[in-house]
């Protein structure tokens, strides 16, 4: 499933980032690499950005980018 399909509170493992290029590279560099575990803390009002905890820090990511990350729960 995609990261955007998970629910707040979910703990997930990253399977892969689906695209390359600038966006995919940045996602990978911020820690979304195969096997990394993350925690979906909360989403913003009206399907706004997601707060994700990964590699011991928190980051914000939009839903459209979360859609590019394949994860398993």
């Amino acid at each position: 499933m995609r990261l955007s399909d998970t629910r707040p509170g979910a703990i997930f493992t990253v399977d892969r980032v689906l695209i390359g290029g600038e966006i995919g590279k940045r996602l990978a560099e911020m820690g979304f690499t195969q096997g990394a575990t993350g925690h979906f803390i909360r989403g913003a009002f009206l399907r706004g950005p997601l707060q994700i905890r990964i590699r011991g820090y928190d980051l914000l990511i939009r839903r459209c980018e979360a859609k590019l990350i394949e994860v398993s729960i």
Partner: protein, 727 residues
């Protein structure tokens, strides 16, 4: 003479570079810019034994790709200036991701010293780091530091000195650095990417090394890795290589192979390998004591990022800031105003009547004084914003506002520049640096000027207060709101036309809340305020003198004849009035006559046909002339034009009465004029900022675009308001 060694202080944003920089250099530093861009550059010195370290604070980055301006600046600095040592500041609470950048410095072939900063926070979080083990596995010396109190600074400099002593460095700057590294401890290790990739990297590196001149400039292995990462900037550099074409096609083939072998893009593969290497290194060096209660940050975020409470709280904070700014700022602002008032009075006493006195009183004190009275407001506004920024609340604001801003084609990080735009356009435009995508940056830069800056406020206050005495605050509010709506509509249109393109990633760190340090906040506020004062002292001083000159010269020759005609006329029309009243009337009429005759009056007359459809008379046309250099000058120019003497504040009663007496002015014209001021191009200093942040082409675009929009907007508002306000 001490030997000078250059150090680049680099690291992730918020890792504590600036704090460490201040601890290292004390007060011996200067603030500047990197060439060609307005990314701030801090430079300072630290003496250590018989060495003098020249330290440069690089912008905070996450990686050495070339996707953002900050990254390009940092990369170019490291490649072109070749500092002797890179001190990588790492956030110990977040070591894994911070090391990701550290490895890339190592690959650049410059000796790296790692500063494990925030050790106090890491300890509180139950994170223990064995720096000896880490040094051993990565081949980089690590030192524990605390940026806020300067702990570990001495050891850090010791490590830098030790690296120099190890013979790792050639004494001569600019000498070929390729020779020394083999001997040195710190490059014995370099990130290993696994056999499959290394077997591709090796031949590529050798091929790159075949051009001596090229590999002296750019580290071959680093370029090879960048090529596998599909880095456009590195590909461009290949043009300087004798075998550029061959390397390019080989790298292309290698990327295709990696992609098919690993089943994902090669740039992702490289990133994953780097993280894999880091994992291996920290497995033993880092221990996390399990458990631990939810942090204070977590508790605060439950409120500040709450679905229902977050946004209202956020608006409450903004409302509070503006309330505080204007309520607190009023008193020092009034003090400053009366100070300049007394200064004008004093000048009138000690300087004999004539041009010189007029220049000092009307030109310089009137113009610059008006600008200085805004300083208290600016200080308070920036104080609040710096505190929000340093605590980490701004990232929460981006979380809350991104959805709405994204709908208009902006970004959660556009929010801060837009908000600063209500204070002053110059720092607001400078603040767009935090936006990583150039297109989002330009969109934000073009949206900011429609936020009514502090300098537009006196114009609104004067005109709304004069022509809408009962509803003045609502009218002023309407102007602010109108600007906000316009900026959003404008952004939608621009994003669909001139700024069209795919949107970029919104991936930003959410740092934990931190107590801001007084020193940090002070430097922020001081820097911003100083740039404002500098603007007042230079651009506005010159503009004030120029405006005084064009409103004073050329002078009519037939003044005494005119005075006699006027006196005769008034003797008849004002027969019952006293002699004094008649003299005053003559003096006022003469003043107006002089202005009409002056260069400004002529300009006003020339542009009159253009602004007539908006209902502006030539006097308003004259007032528009200086508004290009600074909006607040509209008030002082109207003051001169309506002859209210030395005192020209927006609260001035005599100016209000003079404006009301002019039959050419009425509520409708006042409203239209305010709309025009709102939309028209921002002040000269802002235009200069746009030019340096976005380039000359966007500057021209902004001026033409907002000029046209101002006219059209004012015209439409006039049409709409006509039935309500009459003529």
């Amino acid at each position: 003479m001490k030997k000078t060694v250059s150090i680049a202080l680099a690291g992730n944003p918020n890792a504590g570079k600036t704090s460490l920089f201040n601890a290292l250099t004390g007060s011996h530093h200067k603030v500047g810019n990197y060439p060609g861009v307005t990314v701030e550059k801090l430079e300072g010195f630290a003496d250590h034994g018989d060495l003098r370290f020249r330290i440069v604070d690089l912008p905070g980055i996450y990686s050495l790709t070339a996707y953002s301006l900050d990254e390009v600046v940092a990369r170019d600095f490291l490649l072109e200036e070749k500092p002797d040592i890179v001190v990588d500041v790492l956030d110990s609470t977040n070591l894994e991701r911070n090391l990701y950048l550290c490895l890339q410095f190592q690959e650049l072939g410059i000796p790296v010293v790692g500063a494990l900063n925030m050790t106090d926070e890491a300890k509180a979080k139950g994170i223990t780091i064995n720096e000896g083990l880490l040094s051993e596995s990565l081949g980089i010396p690590f030192v524990k530091t605390v940026g806020t109190n300067g702990k570990g600074i001495k050891q850090l400099l010791d490590s830098c000195a030790a690296i120099l002593g190890s013979g790792a460095l050639n004494g001569e700057r600019g000498a070929k650095p390729a020779k020394a590294p083999e001997k040195a401890l710190w490059t014995l290790k370099a990130p290993h990417y696994g056999e499959e990739i290394e077997s591709r990297l090796l031949p590529l590196t050798e091929l790159l090394g075949s051009d001596q001149a090229f590999s002296a400039r750019y580290p071959a292995r680093w370029i090879a890795i960048k090529l596998l990462e599909n880095d456009e900037n590195a590909m461009k550099k290949l043009r300087e290589h004798t075998k550029g074409q061959e390397i390019l096609s080989k790298a292309q083939a290698d990327r295709t192979w990696i992609t098919s072998h690993f089943g994902k893009d090669s740039e992702i593969v490289i990133t994953e390998q780097r993280y894999g290497y880091i994992r291996g290194a920290i497995r033993e060096a880092l221990t996390r004591s399990p458990g631990g209660k939810a942090s204070l940050t977590e508790y605060i975020d439950r409120i500040t990022m709450n679905h229902f409470l977050g946004l209202p709280l956020f608006f409450l904070i903004i409302w509070g800031i503006f309330k505080l700014t204007f309520a607190l700022g009023e008193y020092p602002a009034a003090l400053l105003e009366s100070f300049f008032g007394s200064l004008a009075t004093l000048a009138q006493i000690i300087i004999p009547e004539g041009f010189f006195r007029s220049l000092i009183v009307d030109g310089i004190i009137g113009g610059v004084g008006g600008v200085f009275s805004f300083v208290p407001l600016i200080v308070i506004l920036f104080l609040c914003i710096s505190i929000l920024e340093d605590t980490g609340y701004m990232s929460r604001a981006a979380f809350l506002t991104d959805k709405a801003l994204h709908a208009f084609g902006l970004h959660g990080q556009s929010f801060m520049p837009l908000m600063l735009g209500f204070g002053c356009t110059v720092p607001a435009i400078m603040a767009t640096r935090t936006l990583k995508s150039p297109r989002d940056r330009i969109a934000t830069i073009l949206a900011v000027p429609f936020m009514s800056c502090g300098a537009k406020l006196p114009v609104y206050v004067l005109l709304a207060g004069t022509f809408f005495p009962k509803t003045a605050d609502n009218v002023v509010m309407l102007m602010y709101l109108g600007g906000l709506i316009l900026s959003m509509l404008s952004t939608i249109v621009l994003k669909k036309t001139v700024l069209r393109g795919p949107s970029t990633a919104f991936v930003m760190e959410l740092p934990p809340y931190r107590l801001p340090t007084w020193k940090g906040v002070f430097w922020h506020v001081w820097g911003k305020t100083f740039s404002y004062i500098k603007k007042a002292g230079t651009v506005i001083l010159v503009a004030s003198i120029a405006i005084w000159a064009i409103t004073t010269f050329p002078q009519p020759r037939d003044e005494s004849a005119k005075a006699q005609t006027l006196a005769a006329g008034f003797a008849r029309s004002m027969a019952e009035a006293s002699q004094e009243e008649r003299d005053l009337a003559v003096e006022q009429a003469l003043e107006e006559y002089r202005l009409e005759y002056s260069a400004a009056g002529r300009i006003g007359r020339i542009i009159e046909p253009v602004i007539q459809p908006l209902g502006f008379n030539w006097k308003l046309g004259v007032a528009l002339v200086p508004s290009f250099s600074a909006k607040e000058l509209v008030v002082s120019t109207l003051g001169i034009l309506y002859g209210s003497g030395g005192e020209e504040g927006e609260e001035s009663e005599s100016l209000r009465q003079a404006l009301q007496r002019d039959p050419g002015l009425n509520p409708l014209t006042a409203l239209t004029f305010m709309v025009f001021i709102l939309i028209m191009p921002p002040c000269l200093a802002s235009l200069a900022a746009i030019r340096s942040e976005a380039g000359g082409r966007w500057l021209i675009f902004q001026v033409v675009y907002s000029m046209a929009l101002a006219w059209i907007g004012a015209f439409i508002v006039r049409l709409i308001a006509l039935p309500f306000l009459g003529t």
